[in-house]
């Protein structure tokens, strides 16, 4: 890992350099909501933010994505979508970057989904560590950290007058070729960074007890603990749409006259049609089945299949749930359930 610093006044120059070579996507604020959007100028970026409303998964697994177009004018013609531009994703938080690593597992398991994977390959991930994690963050409980490097090529840490720059991957080293204003680190810089990182971790007050959670969940599948939580769930789908690791999708054909496309759209396991079969039978007929499925997917099935938690601890689902279904509380309470 190579380490440098960059003066805060030079950050705009860094962005301008990136803009010359890449399509730059960064956090932008509009009407009090932060979203990752493409920018044209450095002043559009808002770096003083906790996290974006919609996670950056929306760039790589867009809510609506064309798989192929078709037209039946004379013969049937199929057309595949254009390639993903070279992109620099600036300001992504370590939890969201880790989520993309987790999604990589999903989309390269038995079938390599190149539509998704090629986007990751064509993107330079420049992360920003969290100095002030908000109340519902719990990345440290799920093998993450406010200054974690998983899924990132470069990681920036705000050390007051400068940014501490860590070049993590070979792809990250490409930055050194186009931007020459990086200064070597001093001992003071390293100390500052270590202190800030430690403080950030200590600011995380909520902890999910994840030790052996897989085995504990194995034993309480039939318990009506899940029914009690599900009673208030309205099945709105906010938790799944705003979750950086949720990836359910539906495939639809849309057409107008002789032209159309097969598209992939986000779907949610919280909706009542989830797993509803054409016969009308639904193996997960009630909200209890669906909520239990989501928790198990993240803390039992994923660990079993991919040896990682299917959750990065960003806390969006807790903050946005209209009825305060709290995944930290759920898992911690699950440990107390009598088997």
């Amino acid at each position: 890992m190579k380490r440098y610093t960059i003066h805060k006044q030079k950050i705009n120059d860094l962005i301008k350099t990136l803009l010359k070579k890449y399509r730059v996507i960064a956090p932008v604020e509009k009407n009090d909501i932060i979203l990752f959007k493409q920018i044209e100028r450095p002043d559009e970026i808002k770096l003083d933010f906790t996290n974006s409303k919609i996670p950056p998964k929306s760039i790589f697994l867009p809510q609506t994505e064309t798989l192929f177009k078709f037209s039946t004018d004379k013969d049937i013609k199929l057309e595949t979508p254009k390639n993903f531009e070279e992109t620099a994703l600036f300001g992504i938080r370590p939890c969201d970057a880790k989520s993309l690593d987790i999604l990589k597992n999903v989309f390269s398991d038995e079938y390599e989904d190149n539509l998704f994977l090629s986007k990751l390959k064509n993107t330079l991930f420049i992360g920003l560590t969290c100095k002030d994690p908000p109340v519902n963050c719990f990345c440290t409980s799920v093998d993450g950290s406010p200054f974690g490097t998983a899924g990132l090529d470069i990681l920036l840490t705000d050390i007051e007058d400068k940014y501490f720059v860590e070049i993590i991957t070979k792809k990250g080293e490409n930055l050194l070729k186009i931007f020459k204003d990086l200064k070597p680190v001093t001992k003071k810089d390293i100390e500052k960074k270590t202190t800030i990182a430690k403080n950030a971790e200590n600011k995380i007050k909520r902890h999910m007890q994840t030790k052996n959670i897989e085995k504990i969940l194995d034993q309480i599948f039939e318990n009506n603990f899940w029914g009690e939580i599900a009673k208030r769930c309205v099945g709105c789908g906010i938790c799944t749409y705003l979750c950086p690791t949720c990836h359910c999708f539906d495939i639809q054909d849309e057409k107008k006259g002789k032209h159309g496309a097969r598209i992939r759209v986000w779907d949610s396991c919280m909706y009542s049609e989830y797993t509803k079969q054409a016969s009308g039978y639904n193996p997960r007929p009630s909200q209890m089945n669906r909520i239990r499925n989501r928790i198990y997917h993240k803390f039992n099935y994923f660990p079993k299949n991919s040896q990682v938690f299917g959750c990065v601890g960003c806390g969006r689902c807790i903050t946005e749930c209209p009825v305060n279904i709290d995944i930290i509380e759920t898992i911690n309470d699950a440990r107390q359930v009598k088997k």
């Binding site: 609506t64 064309t66 177009k69 849309e254 107008k256 032209h259 159309g260 496309a261 598209i263």
Partner: protein, 147 residues
């Protein structure tokens, strides 16, 4: 001169939901009487104007129809007694809603045409087509897909 040609280039797509007993019969009468009316209109026959679900109208506008006309029996003359009254309530509210969203509510028109009013039907179609021609093609909520 040039402007006139340009506006003449836009030929609106009008969709007319006509109730079987009154306005569809009126349209039929216009046809048998050889009364000319704008060919821009495509007609869908429904049993009663009260059958027209506002979702049909929205779907039509979304798919590029520039103006939707609903033809029913005169108030008090509905074959099913109350259908046209119910349609009147629904279309009034739908128009208010569209206007508030910023879509020209003249794109929906409710009209009463009886079975004997062949000339009136032709006049309504011609006037409505001219009105929509002036308003222009629908753009705001037209279905747009990245494909």
């Amino acid at each position: 001169m040039v402007v006139k040609i340009m506006s003449e280039k836009f030929e609106p797509n009008i969709l007319a939901f006509l109730c079987n007993w009154c306005s569809y019969a009126g349209a039929d009468l216009a046809g048998t009487s050889r009364i000319q009316y704008s060919p821009n209109v495509k007609i869908i026959r429904v049993m009663c104007s009260g059958r027209v679900n506002p979702v049909f109208i929205l779907n039509a506008l979304q798919n590029g129809i520039d103006g939707v006309l609903i033809g029913g029996c005169h108030p008090g003359e509905c074959h099913y007694e109350t259908g046209n009254y119910l349609a009147r309530r629904r279309i009034t509210i739908l128009k208010k809603l569209l206007e508030y969203i910023g879509i020209d509510s003249r794109r929906i028109k409710l009209t009463w045409v009886s079975a004997s009013e062949g000339q009136k039907f032709a006049d309504v179609i011609n006037e409505y087509t001219a009105e929509i021609k002036k308003i222009g093609p629908i753009k705001k909520i037209v279905r747009r897909n990245e494909w």
